[in-house]
């Protein structure tokens, strides 16, 4: 066979083998993508077109995606309006990194900002308990609520809603930092909602403890089952 002919045959064989390799790769990849890959790369369908997805609720991830959807058309009562930065008598030293940071300025106001931004109407009710008083009581009643998940990231990004003191908003990551470096999950703030109650209600009550665990239930449920408990402790 002339040399040119041998080369031509070799080329055809080579390209045929390569084509086969490519086809095998493609088929193997398609099988892998639709089966084994989901273990490290979970995917979901979004046929309902929403950001919030049922899987988030099941996996207790991104609770605010659900919470925002929940409160969008509802009125929410919170214990107090946003307290300004100066209320906390901060001590500032320009030379000291982190100076002026007041943790309570965040833990006491993040959720109020959140509900003012994303609910239909946010109103204050001074009779609602706050902070330490909530923590004392609600730990025993936590089992009556559904746990939507850890609130770290939700709180991490509420600084977008805080235009009061831009200088202090740079501490946005305090929740993530503070809680992510914690060793036990019990340190992480959670979002607790009485799912069965809130679905059809128009008015909700939102209270939180000093650790920023949030409790959301209906106005009527609060009046009937929780108000009395807080009243006894007072």
């Amino acid at each position: 066979m002339p040399e040119k002919g041998i080369k031509r045959v070799y080329e055809i064989c080579r390209l045929s083998v390569l084509t086969l390799v490519c086809l095998v790769f493609s088929i193997a990849s398609l099988i892998y993508n639709n089966n084994a890959l989901s273990k490290i790369f979970p995917v979901r369908l979004f046929t309902d077109q929403h950001i919030y997805q049922d899987e988030d609720y099941v996996n207790k991830e991104r609770p605010d995606a659900y919470l925002r959807e929940l409160i969008r058309y509802k009125s929410v009562y919170v214990p107090y309006d946003v307290k300004l930065y100066e209320y906390y008598n901060p001590i500032r030293d320009e030379n000291e990194r982190g100076s002026g940071f007041v943790r309570r300025y965040y833990t006491e106001n993040n959720y109020t900002r959140y509900f003012k931004e994303y609910s239909k109407v946010c109103m204050t009710d001074a009779s609602l308990p706050m902070n330490e008083a909530v923590g004392e009581v609600m730990e025993a009643h936590r089992g009556d609520f559904n746990d939507l998940g850890i609130a770290n990231d939700m709180l991490r990004y509420t600084f977008l809603l805080n235009k009061e003191h831009s200088k202090e908003t740079k501490y946005f990551w305090y929740s993530w930092y503070y809680y992510s470096f914690a060793q036990e999950e019990s340190y992480f703030p959670h979002v607790y909602v009485k799912m069965d109650e809130v679905a059809d209600a128009d008015e909700l009550v939102a209270i939180w403890d000093e650790g920023e665990n949030l409790y959301v239930t209906t106005r009527s449920d609060y009046e009937n089952s929780l108000k009395g408990v807080f009243g006894e402790i007072k």
Binding site: S29, K170, F172
Partner: protein
């Protein structure tokens, strides 16, 4: 059910709007640039007619990226210039741009007869676009979201739309989020839907189309054959490009990039488009050259603001493009200038006017200085050194460039051995343990072995090879520079950035195989 249907239709309408705005922009741009080459056109009627199919192909695949770029750049500059980012100003800006284009288009019609052109029927294009958009927006294709998807590309854009301006309290969102990606994330809030999953999936299909057209045209161009075997050439080129496209879109990297609601797919798409247009430019002047230059200007501006490291990678591409026979004026005006036009105003706004100072961020003053000095050095090199010392010495330049990048990595290794070696280890583990890579690494090794090694193997591959190798060196160095350590896992930032190399590597391999075939057939 009704609300979901409206969301889906609104997103489809949004995709069609972006496609059409890009289509008309391209169409007018082509006619205007052809008129500017009037003299050359009149003596090369046949040459123009020969390119008409190519024009139609590129118009079809680039309309959507152009439309998306226009939206992103308009939004970006409105925000940077503190002009309210509202329906009114967006409509007004679009109006000014398209009225100007229309004026130029009408002007081209005066005493100038346009040649017959192959036009893919616009109605047919819209049918295809609508069908693909319907598939993408229906929710039938799975997607993956993470916290960044939600907060960076949904919550933050929603806040931008509500406030209409950049504000200091956006804090780390201004230093860690590619602003073009965030502006793309505002589309749902203007058009009346909730997420950009359909838009992202559509762009993934478009990337596959751009890749296919690039492979086809370059394979066809370099295949031997006379006029009487043109049909055979076209068929073989089509077959080879289809196989290459199949391998690309079936790869796990492509699957992950297109399904994960992050900025990586945007970045990979625009990066590849600029890469493809750069190769077109290097082939010499034709009737589409001026159009390509204008498109590169827009896409370079877009690339630089899609991710925070966009400017650096754009600089890498320019450095690699310096190995080609592209005029210095083009490299400075169309490649480098857009980077300065986006980066400098943005840094002035964020660090000079708003005075943002997050406790932890990717973009810091030191990083900005490094980036601007890097781009300045590139500009000085192109303006004063390249033509003097490296004219017609592309290979020497490419070798020196790669050695320089390697030396940079060695230096970094000396400065910070533990972290650098640690990062390399994580890159290696992610590749070996197939975190998002699937079987690509195996395919890569097999293709390396199957390459027809010989003296002509690398002929004509200077730019793609330099870019592929340079990209790896650059990624490793950049991941070190951003502080923090990498990790093993599909979501690791360095791993995702490295995955973006896949279409470039696929192009290089495909072309090397075809190239050798043409050589041996001769």
């Amino acid at each position: 059910m009704t609300r979901e249907f409206f969301y889906m239709m609104n997103q489809i309408f949004c995709i069609i709007f972006l496609y059409m705005s890009g289509y008309f922009f391209l169409r007018i741009l082509e006619d205007v640039t052809i008129k500017w080459q009037n003299k050359r056109y009149n003596t090369n009627l046949k040459k123009h007619a020969k390119h008409s199919h190519s024009r139609a192909r590129w118009r079809f695949v680039l309309s959507f990226p152009i439309g998306l770029s226009l939206w992103a750049l308009i939004g970006f500059f409105l925000l940077v210039l503190s002009i309210p980012y509202t329906y009114g100003t967006i409509v007004l800006t679009y109006g000014i741009i398209y009225m100007s284009l229309l004026y130029m288009y009408i002007d081209t019609r005066k005493d100038f007869i346009m040649p017959r052109d192959v036009k893919m029927n616009l109605a047919m294009q819209l049918v295809i676009v609508f069908t693909v958009a319907l598939v993408c927006c229906s929710g039938l294709l799975p997607i993956s979201i993470s916290n960044d998807s939600y907060y960076y590309y949904s919550v933050f854009p929603q806040t931008i739309v509500k406030e209409g301006f950049y504000q200091r309290c956006y804090d780390v969102f201004l230093t860690d989020v590619g602003q073009a990606s965030a502006v793309i994330g505002t589309l749902p809030w203007f058009f009346g839907f909730e997420n950009t999953y359909g838009i992202q999936l559509f762009l993934g299909f478009d990337l596959a189309a751009v890749y296919g057209v690039t492979i086809y045209e370059n394979v066809y161009k370099y295949m031997p054959g006379k006029a009487d075997v043109k049909f055979k050439k076209r068929s073989v080129a089509l077959l080879l490009s289809l196989i290459s496209v199949l391998v690309f879109i079936s790869s796990t990297c492509f699957y992950v990039m297109t399904r994960w609601s992050l900025a990586n797919i945007y970045f990979m798409t625009y990066f590849f488009i600029i890469f493809a247009l750069t190769i077109r430019l290097s082939h010499g002047e034709d009737v589409l050259t001026r159009r390509d230059r204008a498109l590169i200007t827009i896409f370079m501006a877009m690339l630089s603001i899609l991710r925070m490291e966009g400017g650096m990678f754009a600089g890498l591409l320019i450095l690699c493009a310096c190995a080609l026979d592209i005029p210095k004026k083009v490299l400075l005006k169309n490649y480098t200038l857009p980077l300065f036009a986006t980066q400098i105003p943005y840094y002035i706004v964020v660090f000079g006017i708003l005075r943002v100072n997050p406790l932890y961020s990717f973009l810091r003053t030191s990083n900005i200085i490094v980036m601007l000095v890097f781009l300045l050095i590139i500009s000085v090199y192109i303006a004063y050194i390249r033509d003097k010392f490296f004219k017609d010495r592309g290979l020497l330049y490419a070798v020196l460039l790669l050695l320089g990048l390697l030396a940079g990595n060695v230096l970094i290794c000396f400065i910070s051995t533990e972290r650098y070696i640690g990062n390399l280890r994580f890159f290696r583990n992610n590749l070996i343990h197939s975190n998002g890579w699937g079987y690509f690494v195996i395919l890569f090794v097999v293709l390396i072995v199957c390459l027809p090694w010989g003296k002509n193997l690398f002929k004509g591959m200077l730019f793609p090879l330099t870019f592929d190798i340079g990209y790896v060196f650059f990624t490793v160095a950049l991941c070190w520079a951003r502080d923090g350590t990498l990790r093993e896992g599909i979501g690791d930032s360095g791993n995702r950035v490295l995955m973006q190399i896949v279409p470039f590597v696929m192009y290089t391999f495909t072309f090397m195989l075809v190239r050798k075939r043409s050589e041996s057939a001769e």
